[in-house]
Symmetry: none
Subunit: 313 residues, 6 copies
């Protein structure tokens, strides 16, 4: 550790584990056990307890306290008056042990908006963005944008919506998308007085042999599903009633697709990271898959997904 | 033709084409061109026009008229005051030609309940039963029971309902049914706070390779779908939302199944006559099929289906 | 039996059991076993089978058939082309035995409107009125008016509606009605930001000690409840949500009340014949009663009720 | 009257007021007081009471009775087993006087489908068509097609639907129609995140000064409104929520318009016969009018409307 | 008062009324008039105005201000950045007098979660828990857990749910509960095609004479009702439609009951503290009571209730 | 600027642009570039950045930061822990330029409640009041009171509700209100079996010639409409289905009216400032106007409206 950090003369800094280039401002108070990385900015009226680790290039705006158990990875932004917690049911003079306190992990590059409240025991994913005033009582996935009290996912960072081809009664149309290998399919659709019928044939519309299918339904609007990629599995998604949004990500491009018609199919090739959310109450998502379930085919961590993508590149 | 039929002395019979054993009662009036089969019973106050053909063992109760263009096959029952028609938009003194009048065909073994009204141009299928007071404005499929104004299918003749296995969260269960080769499947089902998921794998749950799928939806409650068998196609049906009833018939046994859960599947092997009806408004029926569409595989006539069944037996 | 009945010379009357003063018109056909009472009118084109008994002063309009198993009590009116039945699932040449055929009983003073259809096995109650064109597939209670396909109760014979007092936020108001002892009560009603509250105190609002209460709910719109009187029981009815109609009858006056507010109560003293019907889907009727259940206190037959009324008068 | 009519030798004709060219068939019975016009066809098993007047070229199919009080104008068609009535609440042995019986008037050119039931006291308008099996309990307007139990208007004879201009966000568009002077207006419509706004200005969009407006709402689907023309009144109709259909008729052309958007207006100039029907449950129809209410401005009889049209031509 | 409290050298403490063992940390500022009890913990960046009284063993986390009018009883926990208020409609330079400012009372043992906002003039009951980020605009009852913006009661501290007996069609069943004298009753219930019927008789099912009843309905989900006990009144509760939750507390045991069927009754004897909440939108709660309204019978304060309980014990 | 301001000795004030009479309290930190007006009160633990301008008589309670880009006009109140922002999507170490940062403007006399969060780039209107704990993500109109997360308008400052006359079936009734020239009208209303009808005639019910009308619909509950006055236009408002609230303000008196019946009209004369809000989902507001659209007739700024009112006075 270096003494090459700036400390305002009205600041109270008891720790020596402060990284180079970090600035600590007036009326801030850093306890002796805290570890703070390089090039951080710790603003006025902040308080940092002992069992706290802060990465590099982190900004802590005014009025924030970092309690025992808080971990902020590199490049995190914490807005003014953001409030962390470490005890779900606090009572005066009842102290949690190191083992039982609710730890908070804010991952690399995440931002927490002004005056947000973070309940104990949660993880805020990489690059996620917590809206100002949000009250967060669930883990926030990577890249998710959450807002409200309680906070819900309202969008994902940096994803344009792709509306895809319209339905057609004449035949199937396939549209390539900006995500590698992902295609949108307008399935053949026939409608008469007796009702409507949509169909798909393997090879012709579904570009693989179907070995498994699953139906996902009764998903609360606040939930997300998916959040994984497959090494080798092909999938074909149809929202047979209601609608939901699917994010497809090849590690380079990422797009959001709204599935809102039984005659719209979305093909996801292997090595596509996918997230489903914004399900309407009545949404039923049919997923056709090219192989039986195999646990080893799943990549459930986005960082791992990226490293596989990069190896292949 | 024979003179060995009975004619009440108050009856007026101008035709000579009356089958042996047929009885014609008081105040009945049969015009010269009418042809009536054997062992029929033509009750009081009936009227039979010229261009009418009636099969054997047919009962015509009181107050019925058979207009030009009506054909009743063998063993038909026509209840009292049943009213046939042959002109959709009748106007006084506007006559339809033989070519344009609306012909009615009541097929073998069908019964028409008292005081029902049959609109022109329709076929009442074999063994169908039209409820008393019904106003029939659409064809009635074989074995269907219809009632109301307008008449809708309310049941099928002689079909017990099979409720099948309940859903299970532990694994797939298969139940053979009384219809040859038809089985009910309780698909694996997982449910947690994030929603519900049901899945099926080929071979394991779906006993064939899936080459095609179709979704049937927006079926009005009054409609029926299906009404055909396949020579070689295997099908697997899941009602993914809402519910509908499926009749499966192997030519010997016939059962009705209510599909009302995404984790209930119904397997239909080749040579199963199938009808779907009683769709709820929100029903979406997913059908997995073992081969691409091929017109020649369809058997759309029940009589033809039965003859194939019998050849195979 | 007497020969003092009139027979049109075009009528065919094979029975001799025809009452004095009865007239039978052209093209009517009465089989030998039929029994017809006095002063009846049997119009043109009617047909009366053998196992039929018709009371006195009955009118049978044109185009009607009375099949084996039909019983018409005195003073019944049968409109033109009314169609009776005696076989629920008729098939040609399948005959029901005397034991299995569906008998029809039309009770004293009932009327059946033109072209109505009566399914087998039913009873049409005293003075009931079946609307023209109705298709009746359930028993019809005494005095009920039914219409539609299928027929539903739409009213009761000879009952004016009483709208009663409005609700009041100030206190309880009591209004006597034209039915002896029956009163309508506007209960105290208080509403604030936390919701609404209605209350009733015994003596003050409910004129008896409450010994029993029951709640009636989930009543389909087509159903009726009640249809009885009590020798000694007092009742107080409140429709706490939804609404329903109550008929109260003291043997002389009869009125219909709509209960559609939790602050409207209806008091029914002993010896009040009461019927409830026209329930909305969400109707919940609260009934307060002055005594525990006692079977002997019920009068379930209207004729018996009237005889008790008359004895007391 | 002439004896030049045909009478089957099994027919019973007691009246002599039968027009030339009329045919009366077997088992028909015409009472002495009946008057029947020329070139009629009275089929088997019909019954015609005394106080009945039938016009020329009328067809009466089998099984029909014409009761006292029935009037059929020229060119009427009455299908088989159609049932008329003349007593709303019939009781055996209670007879209505000539003054109180419910008369039925079927106007020139109307047709009544097979087995329909016509309640007492109604008028079936010119050229109207009653569907087979219908139970008619309300007057049927001229040219209306009714069906069901109870019968509702389902269409009008010979009216094409005009879908009119789409809505436009840019400004008002006016489209002349095939009905003289009637125009469809696409009103200016602006929609943003705060909601939608439609407006209309007099002169600019509404081609008259607005002196009166009315709102029509809570109209049961089975009802029709309007059915009149105005001598001098201009009207402008907008269905502000829900939808309804408007028939506009200038005496020569007649068209049906569906109003289903608050930005669609329909202008009806004076001397336009107009009918509104097929209201959705939530329909609210706004009518702007050019003058205060004046009874004398209304033409409520279509025949009178036509005579005024012809005078002006 | 004692000088035996700890004051950080960066703290500004102008009051001398600080209890023994209390610690006041850096950048905290306590004005001269404030009174603070023993063993409190007043963290960094807090501010305590003059007209403030704080009990013993209270924790005030960082970033909290205690304004004039705030009273914190013993053992209260105030989380970081919790914000109190004392002026409902603040305007710059408009000062409230001591009489008009909105006082806040946080009662013994309550906890206020991080970053919660407490509107002026409220009481937070004993042991209540305000969730992190909640915005509290109504009094919080003792033991209630509230969350959200605005805050609603989501649970009560330490209350197990009692599901009680199922409904039975055979007769009444009574189940004693862990709350003294409180019993759950499964009322007799009969259901057939005509609907369902539940009833209760006094003595037999309702263990007292019913002198009063009231119906509680249209209660917004966010509301609670009740929150009192009675010295002598017996009550019997039935939720006749919809559902609600009732907490019953005898001063020793406390349980929550869900009333969700018209055939479930809950008997509350005298000296039972009761709270109703979580009403569904359509809930109608019927309460039978053993006596007319009498104000003196109510115990509206939980502490008073407890003292009466203890006297009786 | 003057040195006549008070600075607590624990305060850190680097700016000299501080107005006379202003007080700055302990642990406050004002950067050098900040400009603060006269008679302000800057409480403990506040932080004021450089690019900040604060008017006169402004109160800044504890725990507040004013970031670059914040402008507070005279007489603004900022409650404790209120949190401003200037970057919609903050990331650590990504700085906005002076041009791109989100500026906040709080206009004269507005108050921001405790712990509220203000998103970047917004204007809080004159005298508006932001509720405690609100998260404001849209501009707040003058005088509006907002609350919740996200904040919605719940009321306007200082407006009593006027319930107006009930509907009447007999004729039109007019009620003057406390707002100059504004009147409530009970329109004639007729209801029969065919539905309900309300009408209004110009002069008789609507006190001007109608030259224009518009319909406002699909307004989300959170929206407001209107917010302007007219120099010369007369308007008449009817909420034809659903309901909404209208604020009418003559510059002296201001009242709120609920329009919830098609037979209630509200007349607004020229020079009436009007706002509409609290629309139900199905609300359709019909506005009749006395002249075609003319942009120059609109006064869209309340201050300008007041100055015109005063000139006229």
């Amino acid at each position: 550790m270096s003494a090459n950090f700036f400390q305002h003369d009205k600041a109270l800094v008891e720790s020596t584990a402060i990284g180079e280039g970090t600035r600590i401002w007036a009326f801030a108070h850093v306890l002796a056990g805290a570890q703070i990385g390089k090039d951080c900015n710790i603003c006025d009226h902040t308080f940092v307890e002992n069992d706290v680790i802060v990465g590099d290039r982190v900004t802590i705006k005014c009025g924030v306290q970092l309690w025992d158990g808080v971990r902020l990875e590199d490049d995190v932004f914490v807005g003014p008056n953001v409030t962390f917690t470490n005890d779900m049911y606090p009572r005066s003079k009842h102290y949690l042990s190191k083992e039982t306190l609710g730890r908070t992990l804010v991952k690399r590059g995440a931002s927490i908006g002004a005056n947000a409240t973070i309940l104990p025991g949660l993880t805020i994913g990489e690059r996620a963005m917590v809206g100002a005033g949000a009250v967060v009582n669930r883990n926030v996935p990577p890249d998710a944008i959450v807002a409200g009290n309680p906070a819900q996912i309202i969008a994902y960072v940096g994803i344009p919506r792709t509306s895809g081809p319209g339905t057609s009664s004449q035949g199937a149309a396939t549209t390539e998308t900006e995500v590698k290998g992902v295609s949108l399919h307008s399935l053949p659709h026939v409608e008469d007085l007796r009702g409507a019928l949509t169909f798909a044939e393997t090879q012709k519309h579904v570009p693989f042999e179907v070995k498994r299918l699953f139906l996902v339904y009764d998903v609360p609007n606040r939930e997300i599903r998916g959040e994984h990629a497959h090494h080798t599995l092909h999938q074909f998604l149809i929202c047979v009633t209601g609608s939901c949004s699917v994010i497809a990500d090849d590690g380079v491009a990422r797009r959001e697709f709204r599935l809102d018609s039984p005659s719209r199919g979305l093909y996801l090739p292997p090595m596509t990271w996918s997230v489903q959310y914004k399900h309407t109450k009545d949404a039923v998502l049919l997923v056709l898959a090219s192989a039986p379930y195999e646990a080893a085919d799943y990549i459930r961590d986005y960082a791992e997904f990226m490293s596989v993508v990069e190896k292949k590149a």
